[in-house]
């Protein structure tokens, strides 16, 4: 049946068609939609879970694959860094059931993390990596990835970039295959499943390298990469990796009006980004006088091509990033295809064919991302600001480390409170470093609930062990919110339905032996301020758990914290409420501030900011 689905969903449907037994992952833009679409299907025979972090997710998936069943593990590129310790070892051991690791990269950094090129991880792990150019190819390659994994008996990477992961296109989706109910294999073989000893480890390394060679042979035979040689030898050859191949024909069309002839060009659309398709590359080198490489981010294919060219004694020119024609930053598109053609064929295509009126961009108002109306983090930010002030300190004197997720939004106006963002859980380790470096003012670390479970706990344990003076503020909104409301170990089970065991952070902290621990409601700004102020004056590790459910999620469940009304005759439009809270429910009326009743969650934080009693809580 033809369906309009995203690249993420194409992986989900492809895995179902492959009869996947278990799917694990951790949310991360742009990969999230794959696992969340499977969760929404309420599958009976396939276990689907958001795991506590990517490393654990991969270990769960590996256990399934080692038992002879098929497993899929999903993550964004940052998550792969977390899982990589496990992955490199699993790659050594190989697997029996198909194990596919889906990683989503984000060239152009639209989701605001590193522009990491995960293809290099495939190289380091000696794992095959498949990368489609379109959503429809994603579905087909997912099914192939499971077969490949089982044929080589090793894990296989599937990589998407944002433009495919989040794109909707039509895909012919088949019925899910029945999930194998075979008894799990229980293979006791320390030669495969442990690393104890040089003999074991080096033997596994040898097998790993052999598996990669075999993967290359299988993908060559299956003609996964698409090689098209021109009738006449001696012309231009273009290698396009992953999504870059999707722009070729359109680029050719654009160049045609400048005398470019499609028939003279050979192309290799690369979907097996590792191992390097050497056999096809050599055919290209033997056929073409000039080579153009189109690939986003790092010059990985280009390096492979340069090596093959050297081995063949190739005398033609290879154009890509290494000769400075293309940038290693950002996404590719039609302009890069045309620019590349021009740089090797010199057809006289002007540089501005695809340059629009960009001066317009300078006029656009800055729109920094900020917390939603009703967000409980707003109360926490304001309370930290006030606590700093009460201690007669300034915001630029107090280090407040930040972490991944919605909690980082305190870095922006009107709060301008948070200084750093590195990786999941890093707020804690970083804060300790600042203390060791001799920062005399109180150091504060801030983190969200899901991030705390993911990687924050280890940092907290370290701080406690080494008796560091710091204040940790855990901003617990009960959901993994920034990626679109996924559950985490602390999320309350809906309607008491015990589909998982909820874990209460308020019970973990005392168990770690922390003496100074408070749970506060961030909507009660005065009380929260006083607790944080006190915490900042005490020695050792202090933990403040600011707990209040994400307003977006609460509103979806029909909840409302209260109701705030504007007393128009008291309002002098001083805008102080807006200045302090930056709340998007406010707008400026002609005579008074106005509140959008649809946006306002009634958190009441604004009420205390008003000196003229123009904002009042209404009894609901």
């Amino acid at each position: 049946m033809k369906k309009l689905i995203t690249g993420n969903e194409a992986i989900a449907y492809g895995a179902l068609r492959a009869g996947v037994k278990a799917v694990t992952g951790y949310p991360g833009t742009p990969s999230t939609g794959c696992l969340s679409s499977l969760l929404a299907m309420n599958l009976v025979d396939t276990h689907v879970e958001w795991s506590v972090n990517e490393k654990v997710a991969l270990e769960v998936a590996t256990g399934v694959a080692w038992s002879g069943h098929r497993a899929l593990c999903t993550m964004k590129m940052s998550g792969l860094n977390v899982a990589y310790d496990t992955l490199i070892s699993v790659a050594y051991s190989g697997c029996d059931g198909g194990l596919v690791v889906y990683v989503a990269d984000d060239p152009g950094a639209s989701a605001g993390m590193c522009e990491q090129d995960s293809r290099s991880f495939a190289v380091m792990a000696d794992m095959p990596m498949l990368e489609p150019a379109t959503v429809a190819e994603t579905y087909a390659l997912t099914k192939f990835a499971f077969n490949l994994s089982e044929r080589i008996k090793g894990p296989v990477f599937l990589r998407l970039v944002t433009g495919i992961a989040d794109s909707y296109a039509e895909v012919e989706v088949e019925e899910p295959a029945p999930v194998s109910q075979a008894a799990p294999l229980l293979i006791k073989d320390i030669q495969r499943y442990t690393k104890a000893g040089a003999v074991i480890a080096t033997n596994q390394h040898r097998d790993l390298i052999q598996r990669l060679v075999q993967a290359g042979q299988i993908t060559d035979e299956a003609k996964i990469n698409k090689l098209t040689l021109s009738n006449k030898p001696g012309g231009l050859g273009i290698l396009a990796s992953g999504i870059a191949a999707a722009y070729l024909e359109e680029g050719f069309e654009a160049a045609a009006s400048f005398g470019f002839n499609r028939e003279d060009v050979s192309t290799l659309a690369i979907k097996v980004v590792h191992p390097f398709p050497a056999a096809e590359a050599r055919k290209m080198l033997a056929h073409c006088q000039t080579i153009l490489i189109l690939e986003e981010l790092e010059p990985l294919i280009e390096r492979g091509m340069v090596v093959e060219a050297q081995r063949m004694g190739y005398r033609g020119k290879i154009t890509g990033k290494l000769d400075g024609v293309f940038s290693r930053i950002g996404e590719y598109g039609v302009p890069q295809v045309v620019q590349g053609i021009e740089s090797v064929l010199h057809l006289g295509i002007p540089e501005n064919v695809f340059t629009g009126n960009t001066q317009a961009l300078k006029l656009a108002a800055a729109r920094p991302i900020t917390v939603c109306a009703g967000c409980p983090h707003r109360g926490t930010y304001i309370a930290i600001e006030k606590a700093i002030k009460k201690l007669r300190l300034k915001k630029n004197e107090v280090m407040v480390t930040g972490d991944i997720g919605c909690t980082i939004l305190g870095m922006n106006p009107p709060f301008d409170l948070i200084w750093t963002e590195i990786s999941m859980g890093a707020s804690l380790g970083l804060a300790q470093g600042y203390v060791h470096a001799g920062v005399k003012t109180p150091v504060i670390a801030t983190i969200g609930d899901s991030t705390f479970f993911h990687a924050g706990i280890a940092g907290l344990v370290n701080a406690i062990q080494h008796q560091i003076d710091l204040t940790l503020v855990i901003m617990d909104n009960r959901w993994t919110a920034m990626t679109g409301m996924q559950v985490n170990p602390g999320t309350p089970c809906e309607n008491g339905a015990r589909t998982y065991q909820e874990i209460d952070i308020a019970r973990i902290i005392p168990a770690l032996g922390i003496e100074h621990f408070w749970t506060v409601d961030p909507f009660e700004v005065e009380e929260t301020t006083e607790v944080i102020r006190l915490a900042m004056t005490l020695p050792g590790v202090k933990v403040v758990l600011a707990r209040q459910e994400c307003a977006i999620q609460a509103q979806r469940q029909g909840k409302q914290a209260g109701k705030v009304r504007v007393v128009e005759e008291n309002c002098n439009l001083c805008k102080l409420c807006l200045m302090v809270t930056g709340c998007s429910a406010f707008s400026l009326g002609a005579n008074a501030i106005e509140i959008d009743p649809e946006l306002c969650y009634g958190c009441g934080i604004c009420i205390e900011t008003c000196h003229h009693d123009a904002l009042v809580a209404e009894v609901v």
């Binding site: 039509e170 999504i243 009126n357 960009t358 961009l361 656009a364 991302i369 917390v371």
Partner: protein
């Protein structure tokens, strides 16, 4: 038929829904399509964009600059971010709603005027189709959904209306939204019948 649409607005306006409806129409009518919504980290009120590419098999998701046949923008300032993408001679549809960022509301930052937008659209060589939020009609005492009204205007006043059929768009609207069927059809048809406003 090859037709590219670039969308720009802010989260909460329902602009991505316009793209989804059109993508579903393409799916329904077997027109090759790639729809790439991009929310980035935007919550409600943050910048959102999307790209719909109709009529090409195996197409890349990103529209090159100077190449979009149409821009649909639903926030005055954010519409500027779409200007590099409009093709000379293309339709620049602007629903000139204003969502002022906090710094603008506080008077600390400038906000582009409608005249500035008009000038930039003209510099890009595009045709401006302006929809004033003030003209949004009411249905049963409430303002209709702006996005469906805008979709109606697009179908009535741009080349897209000659490439896909209005009844197919209305069919998708009716099957997609199970609630408020009458109000939705009213909003769409009101947009469809809006007198021509082109500058």
């Amino acid at each position: 038929m090859k037709y590219d649409i670039f969308f720009a607005g802010v989260g909460g306006q329902g602009i991505l829904t316009i793209g989804e409806v059109l993508a579903e129409v393409a799916h329904y009518k077997d027109i090759p399509a790639n729809f790439y919504p991009s929310k980035g980290m935007a919550q409600r009120g943050g910048f959102v964009k999307a790209q719909l590419r109709l009529g090409r098999e195996n197409v890349g998701p990103n529209i090159p600059q100077r190449s979009a046949d149409m821009v649909i923008a639903m926030e005055q300032s954010e519409s500027l971010k779409a200007i590099p993408f409009i093709k000379p001679g293309g339709d620049f549809v602007l629903y000139s709603d204003i969502w002022a960022p906090t710094a603008v509301a506080l008077g600390k930052a400038p906000y582009p005027t409608f005249a500035q937008i008009t000038e930039q659209v003209k510099l890009a060589g595009a045709r401006l189709v302006h929809i004033d939020p003030g003209q949004l009609p009411e249905y049963a005492g409430e303002l209709v959904h702006a996005n469906l009204y805008v979709l109606g205007v697009i179908m009535g006043q741009t080349a897209l209306g000659t490439l896909i059929r209005s009844e197919d768009v209305e069919h998708i609207i009716q099957t997609r939204f199970k609630r408020n069927i009458e109000a939705n059809s009213f909003a769409y048809r009101a947009g469809l019948g809006m007198p021509l406003v082109v500058s």
